[in-house]
Amino acid sequence: MKRFTILFVLYLLALFAFELTPPGQALVKPWTELVAATASGFIRAFDGDAVAQGILLYSQKTGFAITIEAGCNGVEAMLVLLAGILAFPAPWKYRLAGLAIGAVAIQALNLARIVSLFYLGQWDRDWFEWAHLYIWQSLIMLDAMIVWLLWMRALPAREPRAAAA
């Protein structure tokens, strides 16, 4: 447990620091734009109102707009999951599968976050602030935790170490 904790913290710090560097931002920014475009496409499939411009998502009818910043693109939760998977001993096949499934789970919930905030912000700003700052932040990280716990349970049982001769 101590080894896992130390490795988890080290991996998380390294990944987080990398995210903030120019090469890291060169990956994160297009990803965030893709998130905005996906949310816009999803909303338009149902009521045709949202437009995405870069990381900006706005309503053509009401003029209400949100920008998808760090913390709202699901990247931090994915980094936490990645650090947790790397820090735990597991075959690489299972690590890659866990990352792929986890990324889908986190981004699906993040899409729900963005769409719900888009409508909530047009309805009531106080509830928007609440959902944005507190509820969805908690839910996304809970999602990452549950994915990691389920992934651990899907791992093959480990062989016990052979006794010294």
Partner: protein, 193 residues
């Protein structure tokens, strides 16, 4: 569905149901609770910038900081700066911790919950301190007085990002997992077969 998986998803479901009422309770107590972390944050602020006074201003914490130049060996006062921080954005994780603690039967222990809450009253001090330092570093007129190196400014940026994006939610989850391993660990040590 495997029993372990069902148990975990049940835990997640109960935590989801408990989160809104705990967030509501936290909301009413957040302003006085935020003062604890606010006072904790004064230590790193003093080390990096200068001594401060702390007041509560509605939902915000109001700092009055006497900047002491790091370039000046005597560290004489260079300026008095006033700024505000919203402690709620760093302390809401207490509600998340309580939702998890009460969602799992194994973690409903008064002592563990009390210790967890005590840790989470102090932990937001990180985010608050780095929020203050970020605001100071972003004020052009203060840069020559503060005398921070480029490395320290990067450290402040990283500390702020970690304090605002990771610690408010990862902190309570980590505290819960550390205080109640039996709530999420059972069945891990399976015999090889």
């Amino acid at each position: 569905m495997a029993p372990e998986r069902r148990r975990l998803l049940g835990l997640f479901g109960r935590a989801l149901l408990l989160l809104p009422p705990f967030l509501a309770a936290w909301w009413f107590a957040s302003a006085p609770l935020g003062m604890v972390a606010g006072h904790v944050a004064r230590l790193p602020i003093a080390a990096a910038a200068g001594p401060s006074k702390l007041f509560r201003d509605g939902e915000a914490l109001h700092y009055e900081i006497t900047i002491q130049s790091r370039r000046d060996p005597l560290r004489e006062a260079g300026a008095v700066v006033q700024l505000d921080v919203r402690p709620g954005t760093y302390s809401f994780g207490i509600a998340l911790f309580l939702a998890l603690a009460f969602a799992a039967r194994e973690s409903r222990r008064a002592a563990r919950i009390a210790i967890g809450v005590a840790i989470l009253l102090v932990l937001p001090g990180w985010g608050i301190a780095f929020d203050v330092l970020r605001q100071l570093g972003a004020t052009g007129e203060l840069v020559p007085i503060l005398g921070w190196s480029a490395g320290f400014r990067n450290f402040v940026a990283l500390g702020y990002q970690a304090g605002s994006l990771l610690l408010p939610t990862l902190g309570p989850i980590a505290v819960w997992m550390a205080s109640s391993p039996e709530a999420w660990k059972p069945g891990m040590d399976r015999p090889a077969g």
